[in-house]
């Protein structure tokens, strides 16, 4: 069953003004429970506007959004519980930390949900472990931590609400390669442990390629496609036209194919690419 479904979802900024812009244009989409998907698209393609509809931050100009089968905005009183189902982590979430201690900061969301103390404590401990925050860090002020640690605290705060859908907008931006790997690894762990739906907005095709199983592509306010990772990167020429570079390794293999080498499947990670090359070279005895 689709956990997120949109029907002709359309959103217009500044309607009736000279700055009118259709940011999301008749998007029809079904995201299944448990999907781990990437969301890509050039700046201004409508990604952020789209995801803000998923937890009712924006109200569609026309069309509908369904979460777990329930249509948003039919009953305003239902918005709050629905927002608990869809957790949104904005870009640079560490700027939103505010509590005295890391523990209290992570507790903020679960507390707002009206959970009892024991349940809140259980969730904080579980999430802290998942994101790699040690006990000694929990009583520190979040402002004493390093940038990477702050980011983890902020993400943990949303994870602890155990939303059915977790949406993260550029969770790894501004981090060094190792920091990126750690944050993405921890999101992967969360997905594996919870089996919840995770949507990852990213400009890094390399990060997307390594982590997700499906990709949603937005282009000029429209949904270009929502499909398996390999199938999306297979359309590399179209993606490049939209200003979305495919991973460097994909371009290398595309060029080898264009030169007439039989490279079989689409390559979008170095690991898969080197495996494929070793296989081809081994058969040739090129060592």
């Amino acid at each position: 069953m689709a956990v997120i479904k949109t029907e002709d979802l359309t959103y217009v900024y500044g309607d009736g003004t000279p700055f009118r812009k259709v940011a999301v244009d008749h998007v029809n989409l079904e995201i299944e429970k448990g999907d781990f998907a990437g969301i890509i698209g050039h700046t201004g393609s409508g990604k952020s506007t789209l995801i803000q509809h998923f937890n009712g931050l924006l109200r569609p100009t026309s069309g509908s959004v369904y979460i777990d089968g329930e249509r948003l905005w039919d009953n305003k009183a239902r918005l709050r519980p629905i927002r608990f189902k869809v957790g949104l982590v904005f870009q640079y979430p560490e700027y939103q930390l505010f509590e005295e201690t890391v523990y209290k900061d992570i507790a903020f969301g679960p507390k707002n949900m009206g959970l009892d103390e024991d349940e809140i404590d259980r969730r904080i401990k579980e999430t802290a472990k998942l994101v790699g925050l040690s006990d000694s860090v929990m009583q520190k002020s979040p402002f004493e931590l390093s940038g990477g640690q702050k980011r983890r605290v902020a993400i943990a705060g949303v994870m602890a609400m155990e939303p059915e859908v977790l949406i993260l907008d550029e969770p790894a931006s501004g981090l060094d390669p190792k920091g990126r790997e750690q944050i993405l690894g921890m999101i992967k762990e969360y997905h594996k442990a919870k089996g919840n739906t995770v949507l990852l907005v990213s400009h890094s095709m390399e990060d997307i390629a390594r982590n997700v199983s499906k990709i949603l592509v937005m282009n000029d306010s429209k949904l270009f496609c929502y499909d398996e990772t390999a199938k999306v990167f297979h359309r590399s020429a179209e993606l490049e036209k939209m200003g979305l570079a495919v991973p460097q390794v994909t371009r290398v293999f595309d060029r080898l194919k264009a030169m007439g080498f039989d490279m079989g499947e689409d390559v979008y990670t170095v690991k898969f690419g080197s495996g494929l090359l070793l296989d081809r070279l081994g058969k040739k005895g090129a060592k």
């Binding site: 501004g174 390669p177 460097q248 090359l277």
Partner: protein, 285 residues
């Protein structure tokens, strides 16, 4: 005669947190020696917290040395009289374009620093137009900056710097918040400025960007640990990974094949080189 534009000699720098009693001192730069030639395109790599940004801020005298020295065009950053001339020679572009734009119209934003410097109005007009044309944003000169894309905003920020006609531009992760197209726009602008003779110091986490520089410096633990042309830096795949960094995907691919015993160098840093070498191997030549 030395043609070094920037000379950094055994530079030490610490942040002091005096909210604590006694004040807590965090040593960030622990003896950096680095010379940057006029017209050079230098990329600086290092993991978060390695001291890259602190170093950049020492170059245009936002941070002052605790020990050692920084000289820009022969001027000591410790001498207060040099502050203004140093900042006019070395412009800085930061990561978040939204934090660098002050005006409500693009061309007014680009003119901001010139007005502060007391440049004559007709000269301001000329320089603003030139700068916007250089970064390809001239047709947006009357637009509101907040309506631009990230890449466009960052180019406006760069225009604001080049309107001051600096000899050198320091860019601290200027593409971190941009999409691939925006990154490409900014990288092209940087390379074009460098071709026009502007010294570029680019701090980045994107290895593909560093691969386009003439020289790569790696900072770790407050010290320079590698300093070479890009291909010789990236060829040391294991060392780069140990430092919490990465290498371009094509280099990693070559490294995987090399480990398996194939005759391929890890000094491959561009797509063209990689495709050519793989075609040679696959062709069985």
């Amino acid at each position: 005669m030395s043609e070094n534009f920037i000379e950094i000699k055994d530079l030490r720098f610490s942040y002091i947190n005096d909210l604590e009693d006694p004040p807590v001192k965090t040593e960030v730069l622990k003896g950096v020696t680095l010379n940057i030639r006029k017209g050079e395109f230098l990329a600086v790599l290092g993991h978060n917290g390695s001291g890259k940004s602190t170093l950049a801020k020492c170059i245009n005298a936002i941070n002052l040395p605790e020990a050692g020295g920084v000289f820009v065009d022969g001027m000591d950053t410790l001498d207060e009289d040099n502050l203004l001339p140093i900042r006019q020679r070395v412009g800085m572009v930061f990561q978040n374009p939204d934090n660098q734009i002050v005006a409500t119209i693009v061309e007014e934003d680009v003119a901001f620093a010139l007005e502060n410097m007391g440049v004559a109005p007709d000269e301001i007009r000329r320089r603003v137009d030139d700068a916007l044309k250089t970064v390809g944003m001239y047709e947006y000169r009357l637009h509101a900056p907040h309506k631009l894309s990230g890449g466009q905003k960052q180019r406006v920020a760069i225009a604001g710097i080049i309107a001051m006609r600096p000899d050198c531009i320091l860019l601290d992760e200027p593409t971190a918040m941009l999409d691939p197209k925006g990154r490409d726009e900014v990288m092209r602008t940087i390379k074009m400025l460098n071709e026009q003779g502007v010294t570029i110091v680019l701090i980045t986490h994107y290895m593909e960007e560093a691969a386009q520089a003439e020289r790569v410096v790696v900072i770790d633990g407050g010290k320079v640990v590698m300093d070479d042309i890009p291909r010789r830096v990236f060829a040391q795949v294991e060392k780069m990974k140990e430092l919490g960094l990465d290498v371009p995907q094509v280099t990693e691919l070559a490294w995987e094949l090399q480990k398996a015993g194939y005759d391929i160098s890890t000094e491959i840093i561009t797509e063209d080189e990689c495709v050519a070498k793989l075609a040679e191997l696959l062709g069985g030549v």
